[in-house]
Symmetry: C2
Subunit: 340 residues, 2 copies
């Protein structure tokens, strides 16, 4: 089958990879319908993380082609959406809603690589969720978004305890930040402040429910959030950038006793303990347990209640993946969908 392989930083190729086969009885083989390029794929692309002939990709939707003998929840022919972290969905950690910390957790990005025609998905019953039927083609981008960016943005908003009566500030206007705005809106937040200085993304943030836009960053950004919240800071803050500056901006924008949800942190971020201490805030972060939210997110998409597919602003065939990486790296695209 064809698949994307990153030979080294900046060198992305579509080449022949071995067809995946069932290995464990809990596996499924999924024939992918669409996949995409994630902001985190740019880390090895830019040399921030090592890359050595790495099979790429961790977001995916497709049709189940084959299942292992123990798979019960999905069947051949089902259209499925999967999480970017493998989970059994039965262990104590999964049952508590933290599937990304499952005792069988495995990162699809590290061991599978879904920018390809097919993928072997371990623990299929605990990782994949079937849609109610075969989706209209127009729903594919939205369903694909659920696999990571929507699920991650949603988790960030939940981690920040966005909800009725709350003011939510979202640091970051990339795909995940925009999805956190959408989630905050769905969760009933009263006021949603998008921190963005990019006109097109500001527009999309407003489309998804942002009530206010703040262009300032760092200390100025914090001051602006306080100005908008009677000097107190936001009840809920989503951190969706992952740099030192953005993380501390998020900490500073959260009111005492408020909640900070963060869903990505660069390797060089160090948090001064004393600053976090005196902020007096709740934090919850980590790779999102997307599997927790998938059934609800799929239903919301199926019922046309949310439209997360708009975060894809460039669609290319898989064979042009290299151009997709380039467009994202050069910020010509927010998020690239790859068709198969």
């Amino acid at each position: 089958m064809r698949g994307v392989v990153m030979h080294t930083a900046g060198d992305v190729r579509v080449e022949e990879r071995d067809d995946p086969k069932i290995i464990d009885a809990t596996d499924a083989i999924v024939k992918l319908t669409a996949t995409c390029i994630c902001g985190s794929d740019l880390w090895p692309y830019r040399g921030i993380e090592p890359a050595d002939h790495q099979a790429m990709g961790h977001e995916y939707v497709g049709v189940v082609e084959e299942i292992g003998s123990e798979v019960k929840n999905v069947k051949v022919g089902d259209f499925v959406v999967g999480s970017f972290v493998i989970s059994d969905n039965t262990c104590e950690i999964c049952q508590a809603g933290f599937q990304s910390k499952c005792v069988h957790a495995e990162f699809v990005a590290q061991t599978i690589g879904t920018q390809a025609e097919k993928a072997r998905i371990p623990h299929a019953d605990g990782t994949l969720v079937a849609t109610p039927g075969q989706p209209d083609p127009e729903l594919i981008p939205a369903l694909l978004a659920a696999s990571d960016v929507l699920g991650t943005g949603w988790y960030a908003a939940v981690a920040a305890e966005a909800g009725p009566g709350k003011t939510v500030a979202v640091v970051g206007d990339g795909a995940v930040g925009l999805m956190a705005v959408l989630a905050a809106k769905q969760l009933g937040a009263e006021r949603i402040i998008a921190m963005s200085r990019h006109p097109e993304r500001q527009k999309l943030a407003r489309y998804y429910g942002a009530t206010d836009i703040v262009e300032e960053r760092g200390e100025d950004g914090i001051a602006k959030i306080k100005e908008l919240t009677n000097g107190l800071g936001a009840h809920s803050v989503v951190e969706a950038v992952g740099t030192q500056e953005s993380f501390m901006q998020a900490v500073g924008a959260t009111r005492g006793g408020g909640h900070l949800g963060y869903v990505g942190v660069n390797y060089d971020v160090t948090i001064p303990g004393i600053e976090l201490f005196f902020a007096g805030i709740h934090t919850l972060g980590g790779p999102a347990p997307v599997r927790r939210f998938l059934p609800d997110l799929i239903q919301l998409i199926w019922d046309r209640k949310i439209d997360p597919g708009k975060v894809f602003d460039l669609t290319l065939p898989l064979d042009q993946a290299a151009e997709g990486y380039k467009a994202m790296d050069e910020r010509r695209a927010t998020k690239v969908l790859l068709t198969l």
Copy 2:
């Protein structure tokens, strides 16, 4: 009046200070019955924080001697317990239960100094809580503990979401750690693991409700907690030491999706963002909003349901405060009560 003044690191003297006077209509003057020395008082004593003729002390119980014209909740003659952070208890942050981040928050340690015969307490209605009557002398140590160490340990356990069915690990066997053990027990935790290598404190930890003792620290301590929790880590972890090693030990001991409550952090602690991220845990920390818990804690003490006074293992008259500091600095005492 007499009061403790730290001239410089290691130089603690009891000398004449001006009698406090009502300044604002919301003030009360409290004639102190007992006060004590806190682990945090050792920071300037050891030169970790600056000290320049600083009036010391932030834990206090006593009798109201005078009130400002707007004080309504306490009256002259009331026996009161106060929080170590001033709060109005009416602002939005206080109402949410985070009185230590009150819009009028003020640290008693920085501006008042309660190792003295009297103290002016601003925002008396929001800071002080009267006991149901004049307490028996035997209850004084317990009530004094509520002012900080009990309130702080209790908050740490609440922040860690200790409760029925939960395994709680407490990092630190000082007064606050021991109080967190007491709190976890009261909150109904199923299993309480005290991390301690000090025989006397292990004994006290067991007295307060610890079911297990772990002597290992750092990575070995984490491994031991995992061994005791089916490989998963504790649901709830309290960090009550505040060093780099203890903080990361607490992070590592918390299961994915679990809760870490931390109530003290040294100035040199830096948290690697990526480690906190991949831990996938909830955290809540900061100076404890003791005022939130005071009414309940006073009642528990009044009804003889808890006995936090045992954390004081040395009692001295105020005049011998210097010896008290020395005993704590040399670890001959866990916590020193000063009588007046």
